[in-house]
Each structure stands twice: as structure tokens, then as C-alpha cells.
Symmetry: C2
Subunit: 289 residues, 2 copies
């Protein structure tokens, strides 16, 4: 039986950390506020939005919705992001992606003010992740992986982590964050030869491919820690991870469930980044007096 | 006997590529020009400067020297970089590092105009390497590794590369450039546990630690390709790599010598980037007419 690395205690600890900080902000007249910018009505965006609003409410973070039609021109999105940037009562912004095909995503992300980029979508934030800079926020999903590993005291220093998936949302940034914590990191992907053997050789495996139950028991070995970043739906419409949990859980040492694992931590990290951005904005305002 | 991956044929091919391009620039009245900014008189800076000037001359690239005293204040360095940035006849800039201890290196690098950053020292250039952006130039040493691997038709797609050393000059950028070419990349460093075993498991090993002859035969296995990025001096004052060449050459399939390997390619890549920057500046000028 593997240890279940559930998100709940991590979320509870983050909430306990945030409560006095949100309280202090309120004392200073600041309600930490997250803008959610959404184009269209994709079911997974709507589902994440519901979760985020609930979590925000429970933590004392306000949410401002900016909803655009799926076919809205890029100028409409730019106007929304401009409003987010200009409004001092908004501290962070979550832009749901993928954006509709007619929008240049990289260009759109660059419209967001780096100090409100609590999900690491701007080049400036990503550069800081790569160069170990101290500005900006890493992508929330990547940060959630680190939060969870640190919460469960999983040793990283000197350990070998295999990361499967090389997106700028998870794979690449989490690799850099692990490297900074002195792990040895192997970055794998769809073209990797003999992926199963590489995965089996690691101390920790992070699966971030977005392919439902693509990782069976043959990818893992006893004692490993497995982080399943995937949030997919199987043919029956059930939520599932990248890992075939039923097959893998008996093999490994510890594993995150889906649902109930990293997804819920990611939502909390988004709120924690928003609170930190609100604190930074307040400090800058007070410093500027 | 391992195949010797010497730099010479790579340098010759780069020279052949550059000759008609430099010629075309001259026809348009442009001499591609590299600024070298040096603080102090460190022997390895002076040695690299001599090599660079000779290579530049042979390729038709002009060199402009900016030499500052080792104890010069940061304002003097900023003034030199400002002059580099402002002068339209300068297309690229090589800033010798490490800078003296009283200079904030990250801050100094940011003073250079990104379009003249032919050695990937600015955040903008490094961000492009991380995000697969199409702007700027990667660090010349990292680019030299790729040039050499591609020149010798070493397969990268799907292959496992172990990179030892995580600097922003070589380790991290070359890892990203290999990932972009669909290699699986393991980033290792001084804290890596069981480094020898990880190295032995790879198809390609890139040693970039700057520790003289630190990699003995126990780090390698038959058939591997080894890139030795190190340029060190042993106790007798002889130049040597990170790899113990005498011990390792009989074991592996192919290896770069030191000297005569990557160092000489790096110098040529610096010139190639300068020529490309000159072409971009000319195109921008003509586009702006």
C-alpha cells in the first residue's frame, strides 16, 4: 500500500498560513483580489472557475470575473487585460488557457503586467524561474508540485526526479524549481526512448502529459514517489490522472490521487500568490509615500 | 579508439558559411563588428581575447576593445556598455566574466542591449532559450555544443543526454536546446547522488563543471559520445578538460579533445552570432527606410 499524498493537508496548511496575512491586509484596507479572465464556456474552465471561486471565498480573496465571448477579437482580450493592469484593487490575474485558436497566446500573455502575473504566464516570470531570479511567481501547477513535496518532507537534495512533459505550465518550470532545490532532473516527453526504464530509475516521477492513465505499472518501481499532475476525463467521463492509479498504487511508495491531489493544491497556490501580490502592492504603495 | 570530435572541421564549415555573408554585408557597407568589454587583465581573459581577435580577423569581423581597470566603478562599466549600445557600427558584444567582485554581474549584463547580446547574457536572451522563443542568441558555449553535435551527425531525437553543471553559461541553456531537439535531458551537478551511474546510463554526456580531469573512466560506458566543455589548467599549468582524456578515450565511442574541441567552436559561434546580429541590424535599417 502506497502512502497517499492527498492535497487536503497541504491546502489546510496553506490556509492556516494565509489567514493572518489576509487579516493584516484587511486591516490595511486591502482585500486581496484575483481577476479571472475567461474566453468562451469550456466545461473545464467553468469547473475550475467554480472551484477557484469557492476556495477564494473561504480564504478571504475576492474574485473579479472578466468573461469574453469565445469569438471575441484579440482587442477585446487586450482591453480586459489592460483593465486588470490599470485597476489597483486587482492584485493577481488568472487567464484561462488554451485561448481560442484565433488569439496569439504568447502575445496575449505578454499583455499582463508582470507584478499581477500570479500564474507565471509572462516571459518575465518564466525567465525568473529559469535564471533563479527572485521576482515574479512561477506557474501555479509547478509551484503546487513543490509545495506538496515539501509538505510531505520528500527529500529532493541529490535525488533523481524524472519529469514527463515539457510544457511551460508544468514540466519545464517544475524541472527548474527542483534543480534549484538540488535535485537531479531528467526532462522527458513524447519522443523519449525507453521512457519506462528512465521512469523506473528515478526516486521521484512527475507525470504531466495530459494523457489519461497513460502510465501503467511498468513505469514504476518500489519505493518511488509519484506526482500525477494530469486532470483528464476517461471514456466514461470520469476524472482521472495521467497515472493508472489502480495498477500503480500497489507498486510505488507514495502517490498523489486524482482527484484530491495536486489540483486542489494548485488552486490554493493561486490564492497564495494573489495574497503575496497584494502584500507586494501594499508594500510598494507604502514605500512610495 | 574513440572517434575524436575535433573542433577544426566545425570551425571550417562555419567559416565557409560566413564568408559569403560577410561579403554581402561589406557590399552593403557594413563591417560586422564585435565589441569586447574586459575589466582587468586576467590571464584567461587575455588568452581568449587573443584567440577571438585572430579568429575575427580571419573571418572579416572587426573587433573593438573596451578595457577597464579591474577596480573601475560600475558606472565606468555602464558607460562602456552604453557606448556599445549607442554605436550603430557595433553589432555584438562579448563581456568577459566573471566580473570583479564589486560589480553586480546580473545587473551589469542587463545593461547590454538585447539585440547586441551575442553571448546570451541578458535575461531576454535566456528567457528565449527557456521558452523556445525566436529572438536573441543563446550563450555561445551552449550553442557550440549543439553545432558540434549536429556537425558530427550525433543523433539527438529521443536520446538520453546527461549534462553535468547547471550554469547559465552552459548547463541550463544547452539542456533547453537539447530538449528542443527532442533529446531527453538529465541536469546534474555537484549535489547529484550517484553521478557516475547516471552518466554511464546516457547516450551523450556533456561535462561542464570546470573541474580539471574530474571525470574518470568510471563515469562512462562503451559507445557514448562525450563533450568536454571544461578549459582548465592542471598543476603543471597544462590546459585540460573536465574529463580525464587519457583514461576515458579508450572507453567511449566519441569524445571532444581539450584543447582543439569545443573552445575553438565557441569562438567561431561568437563570430557567427555577430554576423547574424549585423545582418539583423542591416535588415532593420532597410526595413525602416
Amino acid at each position: 500500500m502506497a502512502t497517499l499524498l492527498t492535497g487536503k493537508p497541504v491546502v489546510e496548511r496553506l490556509a492556516a498560513d494565509l489567514a493572518p496575512r489576509v487579516n493584516a491586509l484587511e486591516q490595511a484596507g486591502v482585500t486581496p483580489t484575483l481577476a479571472i479572465v475567461r474566453m468562451g464556456e469550456r466545461p473545464d474552465d467553468l469547473s475550475y472557475e467554480r472551484t477557484a471561486r469557492k476556495r477564494a471565498e473561504s480564504l478571504g480573496v475576492a474574485v473579479r470575473l472578466f468573461v469574453l465571448d469565445e469569438s471575441a477579437p484579440k482587442e477585446a482580450l487586450e482591453a480586459a487585460l489592460y483593465e486588470v493592469n490599470q485597476d489597483p484593487s486587482i492584485h493577481g490575474c488568472l487567464l484561462f488557457r488554451p485561448l481560442p485558436a484565433h488569439i496569439d497566446e504568447v502575445q496575449a500573455c505578454e499583455q499582463l503586467a508582470p507584478e499581477k502575473d500570479i500564474d507565471g504566464i509572462t516571459i518575465a516570470s518564466l525567465a525568473a524561474v529559469f535564471t533563479d531570479g527572485d521576482r515574479g511567481f512561477p506557474p501555479a501547477t509547478a509551484a503546487a508540485c513543490i509545495e506538496l513535496l515539501e509538505h510531505y518532507d520528500v527529500p529532493l537534495e541529490g535525488k533523481h526526479v524524472v519529469v514527463v512533459g515539457r510544457s511551460l505550465v508544468v514540466g519545464k518550470p517544475v524541472s527548474m524549481m527542483l534543480l534549484r532545490r538540488n535535485a537531479s532532473v531528467t526532462m522527458c516527453h513524447s519522443r523519449t526512448e525507453d521512457l519506462a526504464s528512465l521512469c523506473r530509475s528515478a526516486d521521484i516521477v512527475i507525470c504531466a502529459t495530459g494523457r489519461a492513465r497513460a502510465f501503467g505499472a511498468e513505469f514504476f518501481s518500489p519505493g518511488q514517489t509519484v506526482l500525477d499532475v494530469g486532470i483528464n476525463f476517461d471514456e466514461q467521463g470520469n476524472i482521472c490522472g495521467d497515472v493508472d492509479f489502480e495498477a500503480v498504487e500497489p507498486v510505488v511508495g507514495a502517490i498523489t490521487p486524482v482527484p484530491g491531489g495536486l489540483g486542489t493544491v494548485t488552486t490554493s497556490v493561486t490564492m497564495a500568490h494573489t495574497v503575496a501580490a497584494a502584500e507586494a502592492a501594499l508594500a510598494a504603495r507604502e514605500g512610495g509615500r
